[in-house]
């Protein structure tokens, strides 16, 4: 059948056209990628031998690599929350979180039972970002300032995620430390701490990861990203 389309007003056809529908599983895959926070350079599907199609995409491969010890197995479960936790998450931490240091500096958990000075739970209120009356620093009083501050925080964490995704946990750790130094009371502290546990596991710093993870669980028992922490800790063999 070849219909005579010439009799139809093209604009009527345009206005009545249906949406493109994503294939089954696409939404879950994108959610999983958002959970990893990997920002992908666009690549043609045929490049580097990657077959066309969703499962063959560059990002999917990166996410799978990351998933070996991190988030992807939990994809649908935590994806959306991880990506958006900055809005749902902490008001702010009243006390600093000690930066996790590299091999040169003292390890984070000289006292593993008290791995870091995480904000006391009582001071952490889940709220919307626009409810925050002041930003991470006292000078940020306007919403715009708070937004810019948040964007800067997110930028650092996004860079850390990229490093995680390409299996460079040491560089990721440096970025997480940078975040902790610049935003000790940052609104993304919870997200940072979750990533930190994953990074420590990846670096084989198991005791520190355990201690930090336990601290995270205590202080953020209902965290949207707790699943990623649990998953990372679960990969550590029992002694």
């Amino acid at each position: 059948m070849n219909r005579d389309w010439s009799t139809k007003d093209p604009l009527d056809a345009l206005r009545g056209v249906e949406e493109f529908l994503p294939p089954p599983g696409a939404e879950e895959r994108v959610a999983a990628l958002l959970a990893t926070g990997v920002s992908a350079p666009l690549r043609g599907a045929g490049e580097r031998g990657i077959p066309a199609g969703s499962h063959g995409s560059t990002l999917f491969r990166l996410a799978r690599r990351f998933a070996g010890w991190s988030l992807l197995p939990l994809a649908a479960g935590i994806a959306i929350g991880m990506a958006g936790s900055h809005v749902l998450s902490v008001r702010k931490a009243r006390q600093s979180v000690a930066p996790v240091t590299s091999a040169v500096s003292p390890p984070i958990n000289e006292k593993p039972e008290e791995p870091a000075a995480l904000a006391p739970l009582s001071s952490v209120a889940r709220t919307r970002s626009d409810d925050i009356p002041d930003g991470p620093t006292k000078r940020s009083s306007s919403r715009l300032d708070a937004s810019e501050e948040l964007a800067r925080e997110r930028g650092i964490l996004d860079r850390a995620r990229k490093r995680i995704a390409i299996a460079e946990p040491q560089q990721a750790l440096a970025l997480l430390n940078e975040h902790a130094r610049r935003f000790p009371q940052g609104r993304l502290s919870e997200e940072r701490e979750a990533m930190l546990v994953n990074v420590l596991v990846a670096l084989g710093r198991r005791e520190e990861a355990r201690a930090r993870g336990e601290s995270f669980r205590r202080h953020f028992p209902n965290s949207l990203v707790r699943a990623s922490v649990d998953a990372a800790l679960a990969t550590i063999p029992a002694n």
Binding site: D4, K8, L88
Partner: protein
């Protein structure tokens, strides 16, 4: 441990003057972003990656979102930027076929209504891909998303006259392409 959002939708949150929560926004707008990117020329093989990029940008810009503006128009602007970047990469420039894709009906049921709908779908989108991107953006946002031209102008950073002009040119280009492709199809 996925904490599902409350009953409130992105729209109702907007009505309250608050930025939508990311997980609500993602759930409710994923399909829209996907479809918009396809309409803006992102190939099927790449649309998943580009959709991901769009939501990363959306999350990053969410604190700056003005809840007084239509959500979809704002999303469209971000999607358009991503689609434009995508198209700037030469490797994504796919020569458009002289003909729109043939529809294979495995059962030979040529009179089937579904087949006809699919043919029209493909014809419309093949014609849409032949409209220059800057005109297509206005066309899609206005004709398909129902956005008034003044809002289109704001969302795309255009002057009002430019927006109207692009709409007019886009309509003409779309009509021409649609009729040309329809004619080819009829002659085959």
């Amino acid at each position: 441990v996925l904490v599902m959002p409350s009953e409130s939708s992105a729209v109702s949150e907007l009505e309250l003057g608050a930025p939508p929560r990311p997980e609500v926004l993602f759930r409710e707008q994923f399909r829209y972003v996907w479809s918009t990117l396809r309409r803006l020329g992102v190939e099927e093989r790449d649309v998943e990656d580009v959709t991901h990029e769009v939501f990363l940008r959306v999350y990053a810009q969410l604190p700056l979102y003005d809840a007084a503006r239509p959500l979809r128009a704002w999303l469209f602007g971000i999607a358009l930027g991503a689609a434009a970047n995508y198209r700037r990469l030469a490797r994504h420039r796919v020569a458009l076929s002289a003909e729109f894709p043939d529809v294979v009906d495995p059962h030979g049921e040529s009179a089937d209504a579904n087949l006809e709908r699919r043919q029209e779908f493909e014809l419309v989108h093949a014609a849409l891909q032949r409209v220059p991107l800057e005109q297509r953006a206005v066309l899609v946002l206005h004709e398909l998303d129902g956005c008034a031209i003044p809002e289109v102008a704001v969302s795309l950073g255009l002057g009002l006259n430019t927006a109207y002009s692009r709409l007019r040119l886009g309509r003409e280009a779309f009509r021409d392409a649609f009729r040309r492709l329809a004619s080819q199809k009829r002659l085959r």
